[in-house]
């Protein structure tokens, strides 16, 4: 298995992990809506995952860039830009005092990210298989 195959195998795994993170976020948000968790605990819990998620995604994108997978890189670059922008504006962390006002926005964002990771998961899978086939030829 060559470099490209390994890269996309790694990307598939990362996409799966990110996917699960988003599912976790969404479950937590609906827990909050149903009053199963209080906003302070929720924010403490989710804030642990915010930066790792962003770093993981940025790392993956960097890998694409370095290995010359420009299509995959361009696919991911807007999200990296969005994340960086959020960190610069210092509103990447969930704020327990504002969470109810911004909850619908957070949920929407999580759903969009979920969809994005899902699409990219299948794309990476496809590219991985493609790489494997081309190698075996």
């Amino acid at each position: 298995m060559g470099g490209e195959g390994w890269l996309f195998l790694f990307a598939v795994l990362m996409a799966a992990v990110l996917l699960f993170t988003m599912v976790f976020f969404i479950i937590m948000f609906s827990d909050l809506e149903c009053d199963y968790i209080n906003p302070i605990d929720l924010c403490n819990k989710l804030n642990q995952f915010v930066l790792p998620e962003m770093i993981a995604h940025a790392f993956l994108t960097l890998c694409f860039l370095l290995s010359g997978q420009f299509i995959a890189f361009l696919l991911n670059a807007p999200l990296v830009g969005y994340n960086v922008n959020k960190i610069m504006a210092k509103n990447h962390m969930y704020d327990a005092t504002e969470i109810f006002r911004t909850l619908s926005g957070h949920k929407k964002e999580s759903f969009i990210k979920l969809g994005f990771y899902l699409v990219s998961f299948f794309y990476y899978l496809y590219r991985m298989i493609l790489a494997l086939i081309s190698e075996s030829d």
């Binding site: 209080n38 906003p39 302070i40 210092k90 327990a96 109810f100």
Partner: protein, 936 residues
């Protein structure tokens, strides 16, 4: 009911009924009997409609008092059998004097023979009165006058002209044109449109089944049935609450009735408290929840008087007669035994604080108010921490008269230097506390520059966190050391730009995180800020905002000016002596279909419908936006607010406020029932929020857009006059909303301008979101009186025992006269405007000065002189101060019409109908709105 039959009106006789242990009152002329104390003399009437069975001339046999036997609302039953039904007004209360021809009140008593019928009837359930529309029309000969009387009797509202006899009463809509008209500012005091409930909506006919608007009011008095209707109408749907408002004798307030027997009937499913709008079914053994429709059992002891150990009259229960009641909660409502009130004072003793005299004034005020601190059961605890470059803990051992000071200079990892004697019982350590406060300001004479406020707050939090309570922080400079240190960030270049809103947001997240910690441990923080320069109110006010405290700002405080010292001492004293509620949660419940969408005010939102307040201060306002997630099917919706709190005398209590309103599916009816004060209050909170999340420009646009949207819908849908017109039509009940919005756009919290310090803006915004309606309205639309030509009775006590105030004037400088004396008040400040041609006599009478030239403007204390005019002016000032709920004591400024341009323009900025800098006059504001309206 069992009150002594003293001072019976003429023509009434009281007889003791032994069986029911109560007096029965007999009208000697008609032979009618009733249980209620008559308030009006009886005189023979020729009125024919003694439709009810003639009352027994002898004392009516008492209700059969078999133990466990239930009592039913005799008045209603009587109506049922009275045949005539609504031939006569439902007996709500003895008629007020003055409604001459209706002296006849249906007696509320138990009629012999009725008991049987009653029992036979009850299984069919529900004391349903015949539907309103099926009633025969009112006899013609009863004039309009009488109709109005009946109207008032039914507590339907005070607005004559509503259509009658329809299936449902509707608000009449009078369209008013605003363009070219001077607004009638006196209309601001008028009550909101009443909720026109069906006559059988409540189980009792008490006049108090709807809360006073100062406790809770809704923007609409008729609830739309669907969200799409609400969206289409563009009217906001929000609840404006001040559940813990002060009850004062000067306002003729009724104290909140307390249900003492801890029988708390609640719905099993939605947990709503029983209220006047439930229905009793199955012979009164069960009640049907008015919110979710579930049938619940009536508690065993509901009809039992536990004190006297005898059956009680269910219809006399306070929760069925009052919209605002307080329950004494049993132990199930407690997480822990009721905690004592705890106060931790964090006092800044840095150089600027000592020099300005803040420390000395604060210490003296605490000392003077030690007796006024809520301490009914001698459990109140107190701690004092002085802070400058290091933390100074005060050890106050009980029984000793000596206090000692422990200095901790480690600001990063705050620890308590001593496990005991730092938080002490007020009563036990009183001598030490008094000694300490007596010499507090002398202890810190050597200048120390720097303020480790954040670390001190952490220390205070550690000290009282186990119990919870209130931290009162007094600081006169920006926190510069330790945790939560801030930098001066008030860049004048940002003012007036879209970046300005960043100055209205917190600079550091430390204060938010700390606020959450405090809220978790039931600690509230009050901030008293005394700034000579920038103190970052926006950041520091985060703590009070999320812990249900309050921010107080004293710009340029200097205790050597007696006005400053008095203002601070009075307000601080009121905060200290305020009876607070501890460890509180507010939950709002509403009829199925209604959802709480957003919250505005000082608290922490703990879940989608639960607000956590470590301390409930008095007279704080909360705004809650409502949405309709499902169609509302009920004909009456009920919105119930419950505040569970521990009183400062160690009782767990629940204050329940129930409000009911009919539903409607007509936009016209929604407009007819809209409450301009509540809408204004909602828009204030909404625009302040917008100014923080977006920009001040957006906030002002939001106000104008919302207003023009409403007026567009009103024009197109209600008055159905599409197209451009020269008029701006509003319903009569909203006619002052544009004026209030004009005031809001020009308010210092939202005004366009490059010269408003961010501190003042932030403070104004904090006030805008917390002031109760009664103070908020003057804050955005000040009161304006002309004093030099007021009528002779103004400023004196009128025949009704209340002070007569001069008529309020429109806020325009057209009213100012060169020789006049004017009074402007916005709830926070008062201005006495003196015209430069004022006659020396006037100056002499009011200020005791020979001429206008001698008078200097600025903060002023009016002398009390021995002449009637001075006394009347003083009376008006005193009355206005007394009128406003809340702790604030307004500064009085004397403004000379030709000197001190800054002060003069400040006073003129209160005249909101005028042009001001870039902002247009009220007429221009209306034109702007009208253009938007006709563009659609």
């Amino acid at each position: 009911m069992s009150s002594e039959p003293l001072n019976l009106p003429q023509g009434w006789e009281a007889r003791w009924d032994a069986q029911s242990s109560a007096y029965i009152y007999i009208d000697q002329s008609t032979g009618q009997a009733q249980w209620e104390l008559p308030t009006q003399p009886s005189y023979p009437t020729s009125h024919h409609s003694t439709s009810s069975s003639a009352p027994a001339p002898a004392p009516a046999p008492a209700p059969v008092s078999r133990p466990g036997r239930r009592h039913y609302p005799t008045a209603q039953i009587q109506q049922m059998y009275a045949g005539g039904g609504y031939d006569q007004p439902p007996p709500v209360q003895p008629l007020a004097p003055g409604y001459g021809d209706q002296t006849h009140v249906a007696p509320q008593f138990f009629t012999p023979g009725m008991a049987d019928v009653q029992q036979a009837q009850i299984p069919q359930g529900q004391f349903q009165q015949p539907a309103y529309g099926q009633q025969p029309a009112y006899p013609q000969e009863k004039g309009v006058d009488q109709m109005t009387n009946q109207f008032q009797n039914m507590q339907m509202g005070y607005r004559a002209g509503a259509t009658y006899g329809d299936q449902k009463q509707l608000h009449s809509i009078q369209t008013v044109n605003l363009i070219g008209m001077q607004p009638d500012v006196r209309g601001l005091d008028s009550p909101p449109p009443a909720a026109l409930l069906a006559p059988n909506a409540a189980v009792t006919q008490s006049p108090h089944i709807q809360p006073d608007p100062s406790y809770q009011r809704c923007t609409l008095a008729a609830m739309p049935t669907t969200q799409s209707l609400l969206n289409k109408s563009k009217l906001p749907l929000a609840l404006v609450l001040a559940p813990y408002r002060s009850v004062r004798e000067v306002d003729d307030d009724m104290p909140v009735p307390v249900v003492e027997d801890s029988v708390i009937a609640r719905c099993r499913r939605c947990r709503a408290y029983i209220n006047p709008f439930v229905t009793f079914i199955e012979g009164g053994n069960r009640w049907k929840c008015c919110m979710c429709g579930l049938s619940n059992e009536v508690p065993q002891l509901f009809d039992w008087d536990q004190r006297e150990n005898k059956p009680a009259d269910r219809w006399g229960r306070k929760e069925l007669n009052h919209a605002v009641v307080e329950y004494i909660a049993p132990t199930e409502y407690m997480v822990r035994p009721p905690q004592p009130p705890v106060y931790a004072f964090v006092i800044d003793v840095s150089q600027s604080a000592v020099q300005s005299g803040m420390v000395a004034t604060a210490a003296r005020t605490i000392l003077e108010n030690l007796d006024n601190l809520p301490n009914a059961d001698k459990r109140t605890k107190i701690a004092i921490i002085a802070v400058s470059t290091s933390l100074h803990f005060m050890s106050l051992p009980p029984g000793s008269t000596e206090a000692s000071m422990l200095v901790v200079s480690d600001l990063t990892d705050v620890f308590l230097p001593k496990p005991v004697d730092l938080l002490v019982n007020l009563t036990e350590s009183r001598p030490a506390i008094e000694t300490l406060l007596g010499r507090l300001s002398d202890m810190f004479q050597e200048p120390q520059v720097g303020n480790a406020l954040g670390s001190a707050l952490q220390a205070a939090h550690q000290l009282i966190g186990k119990i919870g309570g209130k931290i009162i922080a007094l600081t006169s400079c920006l926190p510069s050391l330790g945790e939560g240190a801030l930098k001066a960030r008030d860049d004048p270049k940002l003012l007036g730009t879209s970046k300005e809103s960043s100055l209205l947001n917190a600079a550091s997240s430390w204060y938010k995180t700390f606020a959450i910690e405090c809220s978790k441990q039931q600690v509230a923080v009050d901030m008293f800020l005394f700034s000579a320069s920038y103190t970052d109110v926006a950041t520091l006010s985060c703590l009070p905002r999320y812990t249900a405290g309050q921010t107080y700002l004293y710009p340029g405080f200097n205790a050597s000016r007696s006005e400053d010292a008095i203002k601070f001492a009075t307000e601080f004293g009121r905060v200290l002596s305020m009876p607070i509620g501890l460890e509180a949660v507010i939950r709002v419940r509403a009829t199925r279909g209604i959802r709480l969408a957003a919250f505005h005010g000082n608290f922490f939102i703990r879940s989608t419908d639960l607000l956590a307040l470590p301390v409930v201060p008095m007279d704080q306002n909360y705004v809650i936006e409502l949405q309709l997630e499902d169609d509302v099917k009920a004909t009456t919706v009920v919105i119930q607010t419950a505040v569970l709190h521990t009183t400062c005398f160690g009782e767990r209590r629940i204050r329940v406020i129930t409000q009911a309103m009919p539903t409607t599916d007509s936009i016209a009816e929604m407009y007819g029932s809209a409450d301009q004060i509540a809408i204004a209050s909602y828009l204030v909170s909404k625009s302040v929020e917008k100014s923080m999340t977006s920009s001040l420009d957006d906030a002002r646009n939001l106000i104008i857009n919302k207003l023009s949207d409403m007026l567009t819908v009103f024009k197109n849908q209600v008055t159905s006059s599409a197209g451009a017109s020269a008029q701006l039509a509003v319903p009569d009940n909203l006619k002052l909303l544009p004026l209030l919005m004009c005031g809001l756009v020009k308010h210092v919290g939202l005004r366009e301008g490059v010269s408003i310090p961010p501190d003042l803006r932030s403070y104004a915004q904090a006030l805008l979101t917390t002031l109760p309606c009664q103070s908020l309205i003057p804050y955005i639309h000040p009161i304006f009186y002309s004093l030099h030509n007021m009528s002779p009775d103004a400023g004196t006590v009128g025949p009704d025992g209340h002070m007569v105030l001069p008529p309020a004037l429109n806020l325009t400088s057209e009213r100012l006269e060169r020789h006049g004396l004017f009074f402007i008040e916005d709830g926070q400040n008062m201005f006495l405007w003196v015209g430069h041609e004022a006659v020396p006599r006037l100056i002499q009478d009011v200020f005791d000065l020979p001429s206008y030239a001698e008078l200097t403007g600025g903060k002023y204390t009016l002398p009390v002189l021995d002449n009637p005019f001075n006394q009347r002016v003083n009376n008006i000032v005193a009355k206005t101060r007394e009128l406003r709920r809340g702790v604030y004591r307004q500064h009085l400024y004397v403004v000379k019409s030709d000197a001190e341009p800054a002060l003069r323009s400040w006073a003129l900025s209160c005249l909101i109908e005028d042009r001001m800098d870039k902002m247009g006059s009220y007429a221009q504001f209306l034109t702007q709105v009208k253009n938007k309206v006709s563009r659609v």
